[in-house]
């Protein structure tokens, strides 16, 4: 056991920290378009300095960072309160999926513009009728010469209005068993057969979109991983989503907790033994998130696959973040009925934490079936 950073990990951290110090672009401007333009130029700056796609192998323009270095990268970004890159889904999910399942030609075509933010990616997985049961998607792709014609509806598509490419899971064989009839397409968003509508959420803002496709055209060569292999390719994308998020999430919880502690001290609420007890419990659980995440990395380095800790992290993060925002509301007392500029939003936004990127119920199923070996339900 050695829970310190190695000299090379320390120098990776110091180099990144110094770079972020010198190049931090400041606060993101208000408004969707202004914010997006800001994040796009920030990503160009990151890319020019070799700090975009750190987990990608160097042959594809990444930095080839080790797992611990990727963890440090996510921690340092949040610690510096640096804005995220514009092309988050391309960097964290799309690129790794193309690297894992794409042809050489697809790798040449798609990877570089992801890193430079020249082409933004979005994700078309969920549908109104297919949330947790992803394999039940109904969006259909019908062969038309060298192309496919796609008709259907997707929902919760972040960044769709800025995106050039959509990672789209559609049914190419309606007669095959549901997991086998799917294909994974890269769909060009710049066509009239696709309509993007913002989806207003309980916070009042629109982070997500709905996508309507009426015979949208996709060339056959834009299938990733081969026709009928969409399920396996989609799982790769989802695994990348869960594995790479954990470290940034645990640091963002720590930052929010730090802020709440300062406010509770300033208002005198921290003198209340109940509030102190809940704050201490949250601090401990945030530490558990961090320690579990590192134990998960050790398991991956040892076995090549995530251990049980990996499956637990997203579930636990959702609980901790929700509990934190609930305590913050309680600390405000009767003033919690007034909208403030932080906690009202965070309390509402946190309700999605146990739904987005895998509901807590589905994560518990995964833990029960694949980690504990309990019988499959149904």
């Amino acid at each position: 056991m050695d829970l310190t950073l190695s000299p090379s990990e320390e120098s990776f951290r110091d180099e990144l920290r110094a770079w972020l110090d010198a190049n931090h672009p400041g606060r993101e401007p208000e408004g969707d378009d202004a914010g997006f333009t800001f994040r796009r130029s920030w990503q160009r700056k990151l890319h020019d300095a070799g700090w975009a796609g750190v987990s990608w192998p160097t042959e594809y323009g990444g930095r080839g960072a080790t797992l611990v270095e990727q963890a440090i990268y996510n921690e340092e970004f949040v610690r510096a309160q640096a804005p995220s890159a514009a092309n988050v889904l391309g960097l964290a999910m799309g690129g790794p999926t193309v690297i894992a399942h794409g042809s050489d030609e697809q790798k040449r075509r798609y990877l570089e513009p992801i890193l430079s933010a020249e082409e933004i990616w979005c994700q078309g997985f969920s549908e109104p009728g297919s949330g947790s049961d992803l394999a039940s998607v109904k969006t259909r792709a019908v062969r038309d010469g060298d192309d496919w014609l796609v008709t259907g509806q997707k929902v919760w598509t972040t960044l769709a209005h800025h995106a050039k490419w959509c990672m789209l899971v559609a049914r190419t064989d309606p007669d095959a068993p549901k997991h086998q009839g799917l294909s994974y397409f890269l769909m060009d968003m710049e066509q009239d057969a696709i309509q993007v509508r913002p989806l207003r959420q309980i916070t009042g803002e629109s982070e997500f979109n709905e996508l309507f496709m009426e015979e949208a055209r996709i060339p056959h060569e834009n299938i990733i991983g081969g026709e009928g292999n969409g399920w396996a390719v989609a799982i790769t994308t989802l695994m990348h989503e869960r594995a790479t998020l954990a470290f940034g999430l645990q640091v963002s919880v720590k930052l929010a907790l730090r802020q709440l502690m300062e406010e509770a001290k300033a208002s005198g609420a921290a003198a209340d033994p109940q509030v102190r007890d809940r704050l201490a419990q949250l601090y401990i659980e945030a530490e558990v998130l961090r320690l579990n995440a590192y134990r998960g990395l050790t398991a991956i380095m040892r076995n090549g696959v995530p251990g049980p800790e990996g499956s637990l992290g997203k579930w636990q993060w959702a609980e901790v973040n929700q509990a934190l925002t609930e305590l913050a509301m309680d600390v405000r007392g009767p003033r919690a009925v007034l909208q403030d500029d932080t906690w009202t939003y965070r309390f509402l936004r946190a309700r999605a934490n146990s739904i987005e990127g895998g509901t807590t119920e589905i994560l518990k199923n995964i833990v029960a079936e694949r980690v504990l070996g309990l019988p499959r339900m149904r």
């Binding site: 201490a280 530490e287 558990v288 980690v371 309990l374």
Partner: protein, 336 residues
């Protein structure tokens, strides 16, 4: 950055697991708990001493092995999983306090015997009238460390009289004691030793929780109701997943605290309190949830589950309960 145990630590773990599995079957645990005077036998204790465990933490100068808190935690987790009744933790706790808070002379007098397994020790923390109550493994102990006001004192066991007390946990006997002989104050504050002992208890509770999780999962796979294994129902399988979450969290904080006490002393107090707070809760909640998964059979005296539940619940109150340790966490993270 690496959470894996070293090869040596894994060897200690394997030895402990094999030794305890062979020697402490549930029938033997019950026999020791209900049919012996002290809750363990001298022969059983001797076999543990032959493995060198009492010498784990004691430095080499005093005849010990000079190993760390991580090694202690590894052994403790196995002892908790096996629920092996023994005066091991009591003896380790007395040695840790004497090593940490004692004078050179006191260390030289007591530590070699404790390390060699020639002397048994215990620690009395709960002052009650003229004596101390709820003292584990006190009968026949050769050395007793006493909480005395704000400090610690040590007494030779020959001057100590012990009366048996009814304990929640039958696998760790408790006694009320009176100390007739001389009490010699220890000059130090023993703060680090208290953290080490709290982490050792946390590790034991991790083992307790892991074992009952294993029992619940095995039962959920085999027990059928309404025509299928109960583990196929989400009400049951999600309860098991929740148990795993708590076991892994308790293990992570405990390993971290053990490592910090060995290698990063400035983080030790906070890490120890985080571990004891989290493991105190998990150490009884997981067995309680496992009992629920078992249904009626888990509530019977005949089923073994209650033995682990009682150990986990008792551990939650020893060396600071979850609330006390959270209060300390609050203070250490600057919530003044």
């Amino acid at each position: 950055m690496n959470f894996d145990l070293t090869d040596d630590q894994r060897a200690i773990q394997r030895t402990a697991r094999d030794f305890l599995a062979a020697g402490y079957k549930p029938e033997e645990i019950r026999r020791l708990a209900y049919e012996t005077d002290r809750g363990f036998t001298d022969e059983g204790w001797q076999r543990i001493c032959e493995l060198g465990w009492p010498a784990l933490l004691v430095d080499e100068e005093h005849g010990g092995l000079g190993l760390g808190v991580v090694e202690l935690a590894v052994v403790q987790e196995e002892l908790g999983a096996a629920l092996a009744p023994s005066p091991f933790l009591s003896t380790i706790a007395a040695a840790a306090l004497i090593a940490d808070a004692g004078s050179d002379e006191q260390r030289a007098r007591w530590l070699p015997g404790l390390a060699a397994g020639e002397a048994r020790g215990t620690v009395a923390t709960l002052r009650d009238g003229d004596g101390w109550s709820a003292v584990p493994d006190a009968d026949g102990a050769d050395v007793v460390v006493l909480r005395d006001g704000d400090g610690w004192a040590v007494a030779d066991g020959t001057g100590v009289s012990a009366e048996p007390a009814q304990a929640l946990d039958p696998t760790r006997r408790l006694w009320s004691i009176e100390v007739g002989g001389e009490r010699e104050p220890l000059p130090g504050d023993g703060a680090r030793a208290a953290d080490v002992i709290a982490v050792a208890l946390a590790a034991e509770s991790v083992g307790v929780a892991q074992r009952t999780l294993d029992m619940a999962v095995a039962y959920a796979k085999e027990r059928e109701q309404f025509g299928r294994p109960i583990g196929a129902y989400q009400a049951v399988s999600h309860a098991c997943a929740q148990m795993l979450l708590e076991v892994e969290g308790a293990r992570s904080t405990t390993l971290y605290a053990a490592w910090a006490l060995d290698h990063e002393p400035e983080s030790g107090p906070l890490a120890a309190s985080m571990a004891k707070a989290y493991a105190s809760d998990a150490g009884w909640r997981v067995p309680a949830a496992a009992l629920q998964v078992h249904g009626g059979i888990g509530f019977t005296w005949e089923h073994d589950l209650h033995l682990w539940l009682k150990r986990g619940k008792a551990n939650a109150y020893l060396w600071g309960d979850a609330g006390e340790h959270r209060a300390r966490v609050a203070q250490l993270i600057g919530l003044e």
